[in-house]
């Protein structure tokens, strides 16, 4: 083991964390818009959101990653930076899944709640904001935290095409120099586990906690 390699893995770990957070931020923002669009009473909006979800979920993340990284240069534009390309591809992926997860959570709020709010004279947006979303949020927290685990793990796909220095990419580079795949990929695996396991535990704990009082 070489301390320079360990340091490189730790830098990669930081790269993974940054990419995960950016993905969650942008994927979450767009996913929220997608979820709302998906249940829009305007058919065209709802269909457009459904198409976005279908197409994005129908493509492997690796292919999305390749399109985002190589796509601009194919059409004669400057390439995105590796981080921008990876964030872009992961945002597409995460927004489609989060959009679908959150749509389910919004629709899981009982219909009579909509009706009660309707009868009190709330507009559609007021109903959503004051009555439905606060209840949907409780339902959404466990699956959302669970999906964050997927995001963290899937950032590793960025290593295959875009060359952003995240954990898997750095492990690959070190392996190319040392030919000790078991050691360095093993350490990388432990680092992924160190992030993902607490998230999984948290997700299960939240599920138990929020299920009890359906407040």
């Amino acid at each position: 083991m070489n301390s320079a390699f360990i340091l490189s893995l730790l830098k990669g770990l930081w790269g993974t964390i940054v990419l995960s957070l950016l993905t969650f931020l942008f994927g979450g923002l767009i996913g929220f818009v997608i979820a709302l669009a998906r249940i829009s009473p305007i058919a065209a909006v709802s269909r457009a959101a459904a198409a976005y979800i279908e197409i994005t979920q129908g493509l492997p993340l690796l292919v999305l990653m390749g399109l985002c990284f190589y796509g601009p240069s194919i059409f004669g534009y400057d390439s995105f930076s590796p981080l921008a390309a990876a964030t872009f591809a992961l945002t597409l992926y995460a927004s489609a899944y989060l959009g679908e997860i959150w749509r389910g959570c919004i629709q899981a709020v009982a219909k009579p709640q909509w009706e009660a709010a309707e009868c009190l004279g709330f507009t559609r947006w007021q109903r959503m904001r004051a009555v439905i979303l606060p209840q949907a949020l409780r339902i959404a927290i466990p699956p959302t935290v669970g999906f964050m685990v997927q995001i963290v793990k899937n950032t590793s796909i960025a290593s295959l095409v875009v060359g952003y220095a995240e954990l898997s990419y750095n492990a690959k580079i070190i392996n190319n120099a040392t030919f000790q795949p078991f050691l360095y990929f093993g350490i990388a695996a432990l680092m992924y586990f160190a992030i993902c396991y607490p998230l999984s535990v948290q997700s299960r704990a939240l599920e138990r906690k929020l299920n009890v009082g359906h407040r």
Binding site: P112, E115, A116, G121, F122, Q126, V131, Q135, G213, H214
Partner: protein, 244 residues
Amino acid sequence: MSAIVELKDVRKSFGNLEVLRGVTFNVNRGEVAAIIGQSGSGKSTALRCMDRLETIQGGSMLICGHQLHDDDVDLKSLRRDVGMVFQSYNLFPHLTVVQNIMLAPRMVKGIKAKEAREIADTVISKVGLREKMDYYPEQLSGGQQQRVAIARSLAMEPKLMLFDEVTSALDPQLTGEVLRVMEQLAADGMTMILVTHEMAFARKVADRVIYMRDGKVHEMGSSDILRTPATPELASFVSESAEH
């Protein structure tokens, strides 16, 4: 007395199933009307149409001056005029009692917090639950939740209140406390239309009893029709109800 509810030949279908097949009746200001009838007779649908939770397909419906079959009916002002209470209470579970009550006055009418709080104090006293102001719905009994739901509706100062089988989910003891609140409302002069299975309550409080059968008004009159029904169908419905 002037009619604030006028139904003329109202028709409504769900797919191929015609649920309302020409319903006609009026309710005057200050009256209590009880709609009774078997399950599937269309009574709840008729009530839900009055607050436009369902749209009617034929005939006309005039509620507090709003023509409901117009596409451009002003829903916001209709719902300021009409309050609705449901069988399943439908309180907002993430809000306390007082927040449940204050939410609509504040958001829909734009009333200031202090004033909304005073309204909440008044209506919660009417239903006798002042001490439960800061409880969450799940901490209350079914009867208490239903009384809060009534208070929440009252806070919007409706001209007409609709009650959709509001005691059907409650055991007899809790039913009593809800019915007492409704009786007081009736005594205060609120115009009320209730879909109910509580024959004793209808007999005691209703100015008008509407017996629905197969999507139509089969018999209608003062509460006397429950004692001396004119049609054999109502007679057998009343005697069946008495057995339960």
